[in-house]
Amino acid sequence: MALKSTAKMDIPAGLPSSRLRIECDPKSLGFKTTASLKSTSGLIGQDRAIGAIKLSAEISHKEFNLYVLGREGTGRHTAVKRLLLEAAAVRPMPCDWVYVNNFDTPHKPNAMRLAPGSATALKSAMQQLVDDLAVEIPALFESEDYQTQRRAIEEEFGQKHEKPIAEFADQAKVENVALLRTPMGFMLAAIEDGKPIKPEVYEALTPEQRGEVDAKIERLQEHLAGVLKQGPQLEKEHRQKVETLHAGMAEHAVSLRIHEVENEFSKEPCIVGYLKNVRTDMMSNAELFLLSKERAKDGPFPEVIRKYHLDPHFDRYAVNVMVSHDANDTAAAPIITEDLPSLGQLTGRIEHISEMGTLATNFTLIKPGALHRANGGYLVLDAQRLLSEPYAWEALKRCLQSQSIAITSLAERLSLSPTTTLEPDPIPLDVRVVLIGNGRLHMLLQNFDPEFGQLFKVQADFEDDLTRNAKSIRALARVVADYADQEGLRPMTAGAVAALLDQAVRMAEDNKKLSLEIGALTDVMREADFYAVQQKRDLISDSHISQAIMQAEYRAARIKERMQEAVVRKTILIDTSGTRVGQVNGLSVVGIGNHHFGRSSRITATVRLGAGKLIDIEREVELGGPLHSKGVLILSSYLASHYAVDVPMSLHASLVFEQSYGGVDGDSASSAELYALLSALSGVPIRQGLAVTGSVNQNGEVQAIGGVNEKIEGFFDLCVVRGLTGEQGVLIPASNIDHLMLRREVVEAAKTGAFRVIPIKTIDQGVEVLTGQKAGHRERNGQYSDESINALVEARLRAFANTRRKFASQGDTNPDRKSRR
C-alpha cells in the first residue's frame, strides 16, 4: 500500500512534574522531631476492623469467634493484642480446673471447677495430707494397741485352722497313716514298721487287709481335703478382719487430717465431696502408708522430712492442676497466644510412661493445652499454622461446637493408641478464639468449610491503606513515631517522617492513599536508625530514610541490573529511538519476593491475508496465562468491530513478546499489542522512544493497570543508560494518574522535558502519540478521515477481504492451504 507522507504530530509534553510525585510537606506535620510527640493508640484507618474485634471480644454469645484478615505488617497482631487486653481487663478471672482420681473408675478422671487460686492450694493441701498420714499411720501400726489386736486376730484364725489340722494329725497317727509331701501335693500312706508301706508289702496283703488300708486312707483323704478346703475361706475372713482392723486404726488419723483440709475448703462443695471419697479410699488402703514407710527406711532422708507424696503409690491422691490463677492478681481473663497450635498443644494431651514393657497412664499425666489455659478468656492463633497441623482444626471446631475440651491424641485419631488410655471428664469451654490470617485463607474457609462460617461469625478486615489527607498524614506520623519509640530508635526529624510517609504513598501505589503496612515502614525506620548511628547522629533525618530505601532497593536489584545489562548490550533487543512498523515497547512488572521492578519487552505484530485468525503466540505455546489471552481476544474484537465490519475478517495476524521465554499473564499490554497490530495493518511506524502500558476494552478505551510506577521507572532507567533524547516517555492509562509516585530522578527529567509521562484515554489517542499521525474518525459518509491511521487500517482489511473473495471465486476457499502448497 502506498503511504502518503504526512506531517508528524509532536509528542505531547505529558503530565507536569507536579503530578508525577506528590510529596508530603514536613512543615504540615506540625512538629520538628518525633521526640515531642505524645503516644497514641497506635491504630489508624482500621475502624472497620477495630469495631469487629471489639464486638467479638465483648459479645457474650457463643460462635462469635473472630477471623482477622489483612496483609502482613498492617498491625493485626498489635491491634488484637491491645483490644483484647482492654476487653479482658473487665472480665472476671476464670475458674481453676483440676483433675482428680475417680476412685470407682480410675480411667475416667473427674474434673473439678474451683475458685481462682484454689487449685494450687488444694494440691498443696493434699500433698501435706499424704505426708502427714505417711508418718502417722505407720506409727499407729507400730503401736502396742495395734500389735495386740493384730496378734489376737492371728491367734484366732491360726487356731481356727490349726485345730482341725491337729485333729487330723491325731487321727492319722491313731490309724497308723503317714502324711507324705510329694512335689504335687500331699499323699497319705499306711505305716509299716514306722515307715510308709512299700508296694511289695502292700501287694502281699490279703484283699481284706488291702481293703481296710484303702478304706482308712480314703477316709483320711477326705478328712484332710475337708481341712484344706477351709483354708481359702479362713484366709479370706482373716484378710477381711485385718482390713477392718486397719481401717479402724486408720480411720481416726485419716478423719482428723481430712477434716483439717475440709475446713480449709469448706466453701467449695465439690472439694468437700471429693474429700469424702478420699477418706473412704484411704481407710480402705491404709497399707499404702505402710509400704511407703518400708521404702523410707531405705532412703537417705529422715522420715519426718521425706516427701511421701512423691511416691507413685500416692498418685491416687494427687491433684493434677490443669489451670490455676492467682487470686491476688487483678481480675482479668487470660489471653493466650499459641505459636504451635498442634492437636496436643491445643486440646492437651495424655502422656504415658513405660511400665513392664507396656505403656501406662493415669490422671496425673494429663497435660493442659492452650484451650485450657485460655478458658474463660481469649485464644489467639495463626490461621495458617493451625490449618497446617494435622487434626488440629477439626479438634478446635469440635471443642467450640460442644463447648467442652475433649482430649484426643493423634495416635488415637490414627487408631494407633497404646494399651491403656483415659477418658477424662471434658472440661466446659468458654473461650473466644481469634484466628489471624490472610484474605485468601479466609475466602477458602468460607467457601469450602461450612462449619467455619458457623463458628467464626465475625471478620475483622484490615485495610491496606487509608485516604491521604492532612489529618491522616498527621495521624500516621504519630503512629510511626510510636513504633519508633517502641523499637527504641532515635527520634526522627519532620523531614524523615515526611520521607517515610512518601514511601507509604509509594507502597499504597496511589498518591491519594497512605499504606498501612506499618511493618514495612518500621523496617525502613530501623535501617535508617542504623545509618544514623553509623553517622553518629542523634536524629534520623530524611537522608537516612532515603538511604534505607535505596539500600533495600539496591540489595534486591541484582536481577534487575542483569536484565538491564542484557538490554544495553543488545542481548535482548529493545529500541529506545527511531521508528518501526508493527513493533512497540511493552512494559511489565517482575516481582521477586517483596521487590518489584519494571521491564521492557518488544511486542511485534505481523499481518497477512487470512481467515480472520489472530494468533497469540504466547498462548499457542502455553506461555500465556488466561488474563493475557483475554486481553488479546478483546483487542481482536475491537479490531473486528471497528474496521471493515461489512466484509469478512480476512486477516491472519500474529502477536508475540519477543525474547520472552517465561510465562506472561495479565492484560496490561493489550493496548500495546493493539498499537503494534494497527501499525502493521496501516504500515505506519511507531516511535520506539515511547513505551506503552494499559489494557484496552472492546470499545477502545484504555484502562488502568497495576505497577505503573515500576513500569515507568523501568523504561526510564533504560533510556537513562542509553542517554535521554528528549523524545522518550511512557504512555499510561489516564486512570492511573492518581497512582503515580515516581522517583525523584524521573520527576526531575520530566521537569526538564527529557522524559514524558503521557496519559491516554483511548486507543485513537494513543495511536496518534505513537505514530504522530491522526487516528481519524468516521465521517458522515461512514468512512474514516483520509490518510488517518484508521482509514489505512480499514483499507488494508478491505483489501484482504477482496483478495480473499477473488480466491474464493476461483474455487479455493482457504488461501492458507493454498499458500502452504
Binding site: 491360726g158 481356727k160 485345730k163 499323699m187 497319705l188 484344706l228 483354708g231 479362713l234 484366709e235
Partner: protein, 265 residues
C-alpha cells in the same frame, strides 16, 4: 559377745520338692542378708514317695483340698527335675541378694539323713516343709532350758520382726523344773521333748528353730518327728559339729571349685 558384723553363717536348705524348698527359702531370704551367709541347697528324691506312687489308685491332695490321681514314678521324676531347676534359680537369687556364693545338689534317699549328711561343713540346716495352715503362725524356739545359742535367739528375733509374728519359746528342762521360775506368756516349759512336740502339734507355727548341738533335738529321728508335727520349715543350728557320715556331697562353697556349682548324683 560375738561380733555380728563379722559373723558368716553357711545355710543349707534341704527339701524333697520345690514347694517345700520355697517355704525354707522364704526364711533364708531374711536370714541371709543379716548373717552374710553363703547358701546351699539339696533336693532329695525320696524313694518312699516314688515307691508309694506305684500303689494303684493312690490320690494326691492339693493345697486347695482338691484331689487328683497320684502321678506315676516317671511323672514324679519329671516333676522333680522341674523342681530342681526352680530350686536352683531361687537359691541363686537369694544368694545374689545376700552377695553370697551358692551350691546345689540333687540326691536320692531319705530326706533327713541326706540333709544331715550334706550339712557337714555347714552352720545351719533348714528343712523345708509346706504349710498346712492357711494363716502364718508363730516363730517357735525349741530349746533346752538354760542352754540357748545366741545365734538362734538372734535369728528368731529377726524372723519375728520381719514377719510381724509372735515369738514363742518351748523350753525342755528334762524334768528339772526349778521352783519359782518365772515364765512369760510367750515361754512354755516342758518336762520332755515328747511333751513339747505334743504341744507343738497344737501350735500354728511359721518356723521352728532348734539347736542340734544343745538339744533337745539331737537325732535324725527327733528331727523327723519334729518335722511331722510342726508342718512348717525347721531351722537347725549347731549342725556343723554333728556326728554324721563323712561323705559330704554338697561341699561348702569355700572349697576352691564350689562357687555357684551344681552337682547331681
Amino acid at each position: 559377745m560375738t561380733n555380728k558384723e563379722n559373723r558368716r553363717s553357711r545355710i543349707l536348705v534341704g527339701a524333697s520338692s520345690f514347694a517345700d524348698a520355697a517355704t525354707a527359702l522364704r526364711l533364708v531370704d531374711k536370714l541371709a542378708t543379716i548373717f552374710r551367709s553363703v547358701c546351699g541347697g539339696v533336693l532329695v528324691e525320696e524313694e518312699s514317695i516314688l515307691a508309694i506312687c506305684q500303689i494303684q489308685d493312690k490320690r494326691i491332695i492339693l493345697m486347695n483340698g482338691a484331689t487328683m490321681k497320684a502321678p506315676s514314678r516317671s511323672q514324679v521324676r519329671t516333676q522333680l527335675n522341674a523342681d530342681a531347676r526352680a530350686f536352683r534359680q531361687s537359691l541363686a537369687r537369694t544368694a545374689k541378694a545376700a552377695g553370697a556364693d551358692w551350691a546345689f545338689s540333687q540326691e536320692a534317699g531319705d530326706l533327713i539323713n541326706i540333709a544331715l549328711r550334706a550339712a557337714t561343713g555347714w552352720d545351719i540346716l533348714v528343712i523345708g516343709s509346706r504349710y498346712l495352715n492357711a494363716i502364718k503362725g508363730k516363730i517357735v524356739l525349741l530349746e533346752m532350758l538354760d542352754a540357748v545359742g545366741e545365734e538362734m535367739r538372734d535369728a528368731a528375733e529377726l524372723l519375728a520382726r520381719q514377719f510381724s509374728a509372735d515369738q514363742v519359746v518351748f523350753s525342755v528342762d528334762q524334768g528339772m523344773r526349778r521352783e519359782g521360775s518365772t515364765l512369760s506368756s510367750a515361754n512354755f516349759s516342758f518336762a520332755s521333748l515328747d511333751e513339747a512336740l505334743r504341744a507343738l502339734a497344737q501350735t500354728n507355727a511359721q518356723a521352728v528353730l532348734v539347736d542340734y548341738s544343745r538339744g533337745p533335738v539331737r537325732t535324725a529321728e527327733d528331727i523327723s518327728r519334729l518335722l511331722e508335727v510342726s508342718h512348717c520349715p525347721v531351722i537347725i543350728f549347731g549342725i556343723s559339729g554333728a556326728n554324721v557320715a563323712a561323705d559330704n556331697t554338697v561341699p561348702s562353697p569355700y572349697a576352691s571349685d564350689a562357687r555357684g556349682q551344681t552337682r547331681e548324683n
